[in-house]
């Protein structure tokens, strides 16, 4: 029996209070407004018969006499193949003018994976981007953010990863996206053919905040359904700072005591419960999460990147249009480098980074006006080649080609005894003339 109520007693922030009986925590309600609009809301608490509803579209224009219908079910998301190629908003409604989805639905925010059933991840993710595959290889089920600032091409990087990887399914969760960025993703995926295996949950900057908070749960619940059906799913979340800011806005409007710069004390748990959905299911599918976290004021100690850093398995720093090899770290890379990939991978990557670090010091010496040694000049030439051929985000090579390119660059810039690499590797893979 679906009951209808039409007495809203209190409205504040995104919360409306209504008198109702027999409702459940987490239950959905539909609110029909006097101007004909309709929105969903969710029961976040009750005290006796006073029920607090969080209104997804915000309470703007909600009237005390609006009709409220409780739906006896929690927030759900569609799942399955019919989701692919489609775009939804934070409430899970299609926004691409496509047909309505008739598919199985599952509850969002489901239980967490039993830690004792997890396995040690060791499946390599190919992105074909050298600064990732070669120097900070990703592993299936990894969760990793891109720390960046606005203006940097982080969304381009995400789109590129999505199109170049061999994931079975891609789920994009957009939070606080500018319309241009949304259009960019759509065009890019359509152009590269990735759209057929992609499903998007998009919250635009102009959409209500509550919908922003729902996006990761929707995206991850959909991903989980694919993963348990043997699919390797790549989930892209951009921008988790918008998500956190929405949490902040909602918690403050609910008079919760903030802990740090206005963010709720639960920020760590709120972020962790989403990121921990990443999983490699033994003998079945997986979820890998790459997220964007923009750092307000380029400050990594800001609560959002700081809490994220504690949760994720490493991070990429994107600045100046490049992934910075210093500071960027994939904590799981040793699971695959040289084990799944070619044996020389780890040593070659370390040597190249060490030389690049030396080259940076040579650059400093140059800029301070010191005279440069012959070695310094070699390093400078190396840095330039390295940046052009490896660090450029446009480069699209598979890992075997990346490794060969690495050896070629070393052979171009240095003598064979100058790289500090083991002789066995040099003889087997080096590109110097015999």
């Amino acid at each position: 029996m679906v009951k209808t109520y039409n007495r809203i007693e209190r409205i504040k922030g995104s919360i409306a209070q209504v008198k109702a009986e027999g409702v459940m925590l987490g239950e959905l309600a539909q609110i029909k407004m006097s101007d004909g609009r309709s929105t969903l809301g969710q029961v976040i608490g009750f005290n006796g018969d006073r029920v607090s509803l969080q209104i997804f579209a915000g309470t703007k224009g909600v009237g005390t006499g609006d009709q409220i219908r409780f739906l006896s079910k929690p927030m759900q998301v569609n799942c399955g193949e019919s989701m692919l190629g489609r775009v939804f908003n934070g409430s899970g409604e299609p926004i691409d003018n496509g047909p309505e989805i008739m598919a199985e639905k599952v509850d969002i925010g489901g239980p967490s994976f039993n830690p004792s059933k997890r396995i040690v991840p060791k499946r390599f993710v190919r992105t074909n981007i050298p600064m990732i595959d070669m120097f900070n290889a990703l592993v299936i089920s990894q969760k990793i953010p891109i720390f960046s600032i606005s203006g940097e091409p982080y969304n381009e990087l995400l789109a590129r990863i999505a199109s170049q990887t061999d994931a079975d399914i891609i789920i994009l969760g957009g939070m606080g996206l500018k319309f241009d960025d949304y259009q960019f993703f759509k065009d890019y995926f359509t152009r590269t053919g990735a759209m057929e295996k992609t499903s998007m949950f998009i919250h635009l900057a102009s959409d209500p905040v509550v919908e922003c908070v729902l996006v990761p749960d929707m995206a991850l619940a959909a991903a989980e359904q694919f993963a348990i059906k043997d699919k390797n799913v790549l989930v892209l979340l951009t921008d988790m700072t918008s998500f956190s800011d929405s949490l902040k806005e909602i918690s403050i409007s609910m008079d919760m005591v903030p802990s740090n710069r206005g963010y709720p004390g639960s920020l760590y748990s709120d972020l962790a419960s989403r990121y921990e959905k990443a999983v490699d299911i033994e003998g079945s599918g997986s979820i890998t999460i790459i997220a964007v976290t923009t750092m307000p004021g380029n400050d990594v100690t800001h609560p959002v990147p700081d809490n994220t850093g504690y949760i994720t398995e490493g991070q990429f720093y994107l600045h100046g249009g490049r992934i910075d090899p210093f500071g960027s770290l994939s904590r799981l890379k040793q699971q695959v480098m040289g084990k799944v990939t070619r044996e020389d991978h780890g040593d070659l990557a370390n040597a190249m980074i060490r030389l690049y670090a030396d080259a940076k010091k040579a650059r400093d010496r140059e800029s301070m006006g010191f005279r440069l040694s012959g070695w310094d000049k070699k390093l400078l030439a190396y840095a330039e080649t390295f940046e052009k051929k490896m660090m450029d985000l446009q480069v699209n090579l598979d890992i075997e080609e990346q490794l060969d390119l690495g050896w070629t660059i070393l052979a171009q810039c240095f003598d064979r005894n100058e790289t500090g690499l083991k002789n066995t590797w040099i003889e087997k893979y080096g590109k110097w003339d015999k």
Binding site: E21, G22, V23, M24, L25, G26, E27, I44, G45, F46, N47, G48, D49, S52, P74, D107, G109, G110, P111, S112, F113, N114, P115, S116, K117, R118, I119, V120, P121, S141, I228, M256, V257, P258, S259, N260, G265, S266, Y268, S269, A272, S273, E276, K277, I281, T301, H302, P303, D306, N307, G309, Y310, I311, E313, G314, G327, L329, R331, Q334
Partner: protein, 583 residues
Amino acid sequence: MDEKTKGIIIAAQGNLVTVRFDGTIRQNEVVFVKTGGQSLKGEVIEINGNEAKVQIFEPTDGIRYGDEVVFEKDLLSVELGPGLLKRVFDGLQNPLEDIAEAAGYFLKRGIYLPPLPRNIKWQWNPTAKVGDVVYRAYFLGWVPEENIKHQIMVPFNFIGKGVVKSIAAPGEYTVEQEIATIEDEKGNVRSVNMINMWPAKFALRFGERLLPTEQLVTSQRIIDGPFPVAKGGTFCTPGPFGAGKTVLQHQISKHATTQIVIIVACGERAGEVVEILREFPHLDDPQTGKKLMDRTCIICNTSSMPVAARESSIYMGVAIAEYYRQMGIDCLLLADSTSRWAQALREMSGRLEEIPGEEAFPAYLASRISELYERAGVIKLYNGEQGSLTIGGSVSPAGGNFEEPVTLSTLAVVGCFLGLSRQRSDARRFPAIDPLISWSKYGERFAAHGDETMKTRLKIIEKAQKMIIESDEIGKKMSVVGEEGISIDDIVTYLKGEFYDAVYLQQNAYDKVDTATSMDRQNEQLGIISKVLDKNFKFDDREKARNYFLDLTDKIIQLNYLPREASIYGEKKQEILNMIEGE
């Protein structure tokens, strides 16, 4: 048995519900909320008239006004007995592997299974005799559990003097079978089996407390050397993300010379627990020749598991460790991370609308932290045997800044501070414990109680520590005025400090030899280092000094990677000694 008190839900928000009850209840009593065919566990945290606030340990979706609530009378308890080792429990002591078998991949709510296996038969060896006078925590007999003599004790809630009325014959028994009967002072005869219950939030300690004076060898040089930990002592490892807190804890859990290790994975990544679960069953415990997993128990309430159970997870772990200590055993409890536990306190305090303290942590944060670490210690049992519990907690300060409530409150109570710094981890100087800020209060005590070897060792370490401080100051000066502005003697001091740092303080966790260093080998290394620190080097120029130390450092690091049994070990060591003598 009198009836259990019942009530109904009248309000709910998040995982906090208000219950109107009829009867008597007590603070921190366990309750079950019956909703949609499931039973959800919770704990009373506030009582006002006939209304109680209850925190639910599980997701609360679907709870309605009027749902039935049953009060269980017991406080949140831990089930103790044989069968805890090698196991993985969640923050409420649910056995996660059994849950997986019952429910599959996901942690469905409302499933509670007994922590101790009910079907295993243990080999019972009675030691008490009929007519013996006993008190609680007295030994009745033991069963072998992995490597230890697991003592079965008189129930901890047995009041006053008792007399053993009967004791089961040697043989095989399950934990639920009677192994003794004991008559109390009032003449009531109580049946005793192998299960002992204890309210997890109370300290379990029967015996006399002693001052910790013996060193807990961790095999991590930077700890065992300048910042040693005592058996029965406490330490903390605060540090920013990625500085190496978890790797350090794993290192300690593998290599510390202790009999039992309890690992509490509290609000951190599940993936890190998986590493332990998949690795430990295959790693040898050098002390016993058995597997590392055999001495380990894991409490796993990782970051996506219910926050309320995160609070209890640490208490579960501590109570289990105290239980083994009560058998006269050395135990080590490692918690990663206590900040997540403090955050769980903060979330609940916020929901109760308590007046917040600094950074919204509750005002009682400091006292909770000190209560926790106070549960460590050495105790002397009734029979003269000693047991110890060492507690080490990692701390995850916001922004890596130690001036925050959890770090500060922890520093106020622990005996040893191992501060990890971003600077050292960025420079890949692992373990990234900063020798300039860390301290231990135990070193002096070991000096007073130790033998000659210990005293020599501590002298060298003291000397080296001074060198590190001087070296750092010279290094700072050098970065301002350039190398040219520093005397060659100062450069040598600087290089000596860097040398000690590189060959002793830094240790490669991923090298199979360097990963753990025995006390004996540490002393040998310190002998070599002492020679270098004492030597009055004369170099012609700075370049020569640098090259000499570079070469020496590299040689000793290579030696560190060699097992002492290796045939070339002696030769390589002699080469180094010659190099030091010969200069």
